[in-house]
């Protein structure tokens, strides 16, 4: 069997905070998925359009602190020279200006000149103690890869609506065997929580939880009622300046009528930066899944984004699989 698959996916999430870190969250997802599966005598063509909308409220805040981690690495490197000390206020000033590091080359000719001028002025000329070799080592600290670093905790309760339109065509050569058009819609009451902490400059841990109750609102439906749970624990290590290792442990559980199912996953990702914008990524993952007859998963990817609900028709009750991937990534601009 061969398959051609194409996916266009867009999503946006907006959180509006008050002073106490309470917030309302709004998100929208639009997804178009097409696949064509070629068997020896037939092929199956499917196109799916999905729209998902979420509104909710919550408390707490998970912030992205990547520039702060980078500034702390800069401070550690600077202090190691023994020619001065950067204090916490210097780190605060520096992390603000570090957010412009990747943008500067787009805005200035000879951007490094402006960059080091800015740094020198916010650090009150503390760079003037350094010689050329020290500055080379400091430049390294700006290029080190620290991954995406998060800090904080939050919890929210949401109402979610899915709308899915599917078209299935079964072909034998140019002869159309059958065509099935379906529209599904679901409403879900969900709660989710996140906790992230940086135990060291090189090590971050995170926990995520999602729990949802999903009910159909259309006549066509894949399930009557489904309860889904996802637990995630992840760890990120910067092993060297150019090598980042991330491990995710996932537990998915779902209950559909009286049937229950679960999926355990261990996902390993090694990301090696060949140069500042170009990385090679190796993923090695294992999965173990077991369920009774029928099962529905509302799926999430490793960034926590919702994906299309999957329905397993119960043909198999238990399976174990491994997968691996080699990815080449070019980042045009990144933090």
């Amino acid at each position: 069997m061969q398959e051609f698959r194409s996916d266009l996916h867009n999503e946006a999430e907006l959180k509006l905070y008050n002073k106490k870190s309470d917030y309302i969250v709004l998100s929208a997802i639009m997804d178009y998925n097409y696949f064509n599966q070629f068997y020896s005598e037939e092929n199956h063509e499917n196109s799916t359009i999905l729209g998902a909308f979420l509104a909710g409220s919550g408390s707490g805040r998970v912030r992205e602190v990547t520039p702060i981690i980078r500034a702390l690495r800069f401070k550690k490197r600077y202090n190691s020279f023994g020619k001065g000390v950067l204090d916490q206020q210097d780190v605060a000033n520096l992390s603000g200006i570090l957010t412009k590091y990747s943008e500067n080359p787009n805005n200035f000719e000879y951007s490094d000149k402006y960059w080091w001028n800015d740094i020198s002025s916010i650090l009150n000329n503390k760079l003037s103690n350094l010689d050329g070799y020290d500055v080379f080592m400091l430049t390294d600290a700006l290029k080190e890869n620290v991954g995406t670093r998060l800090q904080g905790k939050e919890m929210n309760v949401n109402l979610q609506y899915f709308w899915i339109k599917q078209k299935n065509d079964y072909w034998s050569g140019n002869y159309n065997l059958s065509r099935i058009n379906s529209i599904f819609s679901y409403i879900g009451l969900t709660t989710s929580g996140k906790y992230y902490s940086n135990l060291s400059i090189k090590h971050q841990i995170g926990f995520e939880m999602d729990l949802g109750l999903y009910l159909p609102t259309s006549e066509n439906t894949l399930f009557d009622r489904s309860i889904n749970l996802k637990l995630n624990h992840n760890q990120l290590f910067t092993i060297t300046d150019r090598l980042i290792y991330q491990v995710d442990f996932n537990i998915f559980g779902d209950m559909y009528k009286k049937n229950k199912g679960f999926l355990l996953e261990a996902l390993n990702s090694f990301n090696y930066y060949l140069e500042n914008n170009f990385s090679i990524n190796l993923n090695i993952n294992s999965h173990f899944q077991k369920y009774d007859q029928q099962s529905v998963f509302v799926d999430f990817d490793r960034n926590g984004y919702y994906r299309v609900p999957h329905f397993y028709d119960g043909a198999y009750r238990e399976f174990l699989w491994w997968d691996f991937g080699v990815f080449l990534n070019y980042h045009f601009g990144r933090m």
Binding site: D7, A12, E13, A92, G96, T99, F249, F288, Y316, F332
Partner: protein
């Protein structure tokens, strides 16, 4: 199988915790307390991937094994903006 998976999971976490040096308390508190007032970034990312998938099914005491290989081409755009009052992230591929 389930027991092996859980044991492997727990031992991996403990091992990772053991080898990881802890951050000086002052820096740890600083990361928790200090927040950037406002910032944004865009990450444009192009991904080319070769991946494989090996599945062994157990179905009414019959075993079946499948292997899948795929080539993936994925341009993505990621935008994030944070301030005291809001957080906006957009993602597309």
């Amino acid at each position: 199988m389930k027991k092996i998976f859980v044991i492997a999971l727990l031992s991996s976490v403990l091992l990772l915790e053991a080898v990881s040096p802890s951050l000086p308390e002052s820096d740890h508190e600083f990361i928790k307390q200090y927040c950037l007032p406002a910032w944004k970034y865009i990450d444009l990312n192009m991904e080319l991937a070769i991946s494989g998938d090996n599945r062994k099914f157990t179905h009414y005491n019959e075993n079946e094994q499948y292997e899948f290989y795929k080539i993936n081409y994925k341009p993505t755009v990621f935008f994030r903006k944070e301030s005291d009052k809001m957080m906006l992230k957009c993602f597309g591929y």
